[in-house]
């Protein structure tokens, strides 16, 4: 059914970087902007993030408050479902574990929904954002995160495709059930593991 090979196609990158998941290419120094709607202007001075839902103490933080907590750096790769990967980059912010520990996660909590100021949502199993797997970040390679890339603060879940890392994050809600987010109801995969090529619904 599926063509064995594409006639005359050899491909360029014969030395495949082992850090690239299947079907991904190295975008190099660039960082494509992909957003499904108008880029909002979010003021860093008035921005807040709230962690609520199945937690003991729902809490809202300003950026200044977050900066007083122990910082955390992610250094590594990121992968977009549109097939680019950006290798060996870094982000500075705070580990999501710090915030989850602060609010007290209840036993029934099994999933989260991330929500942006724009109303964008994306869902994840709680296990995918605990134990050093997720961050809130405000710097990229030493510079403030730009508006196009989700500044002042975005979510970062680098082991999954990047639509799981909501830009302009404003709320993280813990739930006992899964609630499909924006792209998850619009044809994309529930979990989005790049190493399993979970791109679209049905993968």
């Amino acid at each position: 059914m599926i063509v064995a090979t594409t006639r005359g196609f050899l491909g360029r990158r014969r030395e495949r970087d082992p850090r690239l998941p299947p079907g991904q290419y190295d975008v190099g120094a660039g960082w494509p902007v992909l957003t499904a709607e108008a880029t909002p202007r979010v003021d860093a001075d008035t921005w807040t993030v709230t962690v609520d839902g199945l937690v003991d103490t729902p809490t809202t933080w300003t950026l200044r408050e977050l900066r007083l907590l122990p910082p955390s750096v992610y250094a590594g790769d990121i992968h977009c479902v549109t097939t680019w990967s950006k290798l060996d980059t870094n982000f500075t912010g705070i580990s999501l574990d710090t915030l989850l520990d602060a609010v007290g996660v209840q036993d029934e909590a099994k999933y989260i929904v991330e929500r942006s100021t724009t109303g964008y949502t994306t869902n994840l199993p709680l296990d995918d954002v605990r134990g050093g797997k997720a961050w809130l970040v405000w710097e990229h390679e030493g510079k403030p995160l730009t508006r196009e890339h989700g500044g002042p603060v975005r979510m970062l879940v680098p082991h999954l495709y990047f639509w799981k890392s909501a830009k302009w994050i404003e709320r993280i809600t813990l739930l006992d059930h899964d609630e499909p987010g924006f792209w998850e109801v619009n044809g994309y995969h529930e979990r989005g593991d790049p190493w399993r090529e979970q791109r679209f619904d049905g993968d």
Binding site: T6, G23, V33, T35, A36, K167
Partner: protein, 255 residues
């Protein structure tokens, strides 16, 4: 890909709650890889190729959706990219517009090597956000190759006799760089050619051009480079178009 809003009403927005096998919302069938036969190949400009594909067990698309094309080397290496559908749902073939990027691994192959009779692995249609049902008022704004999904919308509007519901504004540096220029011109699209002084349609999509499009009741479909869509978003919002009505598809690498 990372963000968007108010997406939860999307299935209603499509207006066709048809999830039967082969229907427009048959997502599992759409996700399946299949061999499409290349029926026609055209090179409308030096840096572009239009591929018209016969897709077996095809799932009908909504205007605005895309297909993924996957190339496979003899050693199993694969490369895949997404391309917007420029044909209408009623077309027997699926038409993909591909801009040839000089260092593009996939687009150079599609532009330089592919011939009628070849088979290409494809999956689609994909995406349920940047889609237009044809039932609502819409404004399409495209830059360069970003006009391709808008042409799919235009052709669908013609097919269903609803061209009055879709208004278009498109921009490119020169007429050569504007895909489907004749078709867009015939449809009455506002055309702005930014590096064609003294020629018809010379100009840019500035505040007055954008303000003339504003319709808070319509959905805006904005497609092009990050730079183009960023500039248009700002103008649209400043001109009074509610940000929540703007749907964006961005092409191309930027910083």
């Amino acid at each position: 890909m990372s963000s968007a809003s108010t997406g939860t009403d999307e299935p209603d927005d499509i207006g066709v709650p048809d999830d039967r096998p082969g229907g427009p919302n048959d997502r599992r069938a759409a996700a399946k890889w299949r061999d499409a036969r290349v029926v026609e190949v055209a090179h409308p400009a030096v840096d572009a190729v239009v591929l018209r594909l016969a897709v077996p067990e095809r799932v009908q698309h909504h205007p605005g959706q895309h297909y993924v094309v996957r190339l496979r080397a003899p050693d199993g290496y694969t490369a895949q990219r997404s391309y917007s559908v420029a044909s209408a749902p009623a077309d027997d073939l699926v038409e993909l517009f591909v801009e040839r990027i000089d260092d593009g691994e996939v687009s150079t192959y599609l532009a330089d090597v592919v011939e009628p009779g070849d088979d290409l692995e494809v999956r689609g249609p994909i995406g349920r956000w940047f889609v237009w049902s044809g039932y609502t008022r819409a404004i399409g704004i495209g830059g360069g190759s970003g006009v391709a999904p808008l042409v799919g919308m235009l052709r669908h509007a013609h097919d269903v006799g609803r061209t009055e519901r879709l208004r278009l504004a498109v921009s490119a540096t020169t007429r050569d760089r504007l895909p489907y220029a004749d078709e867009l011109e015939a449809a009455g699209a506002h055309i702005a050619l930014t590096r064609s002084p003294g020629e018809p349609h010379a100009g840019r999509l500035d505040m007055s051009a954008v303000a003339a499009l504003v319709d808070p009741e319509a959905t805006v479909y904005l497609c092009g480079s990050a730079r183009f869509t960023g500039a248009m978003e700002t103008l649209l919002v400043d001109a009074g178009q509610p940000a929540g009505t703007i749907r964006v598809e961005r092409f191309g690498p930027t910083g």
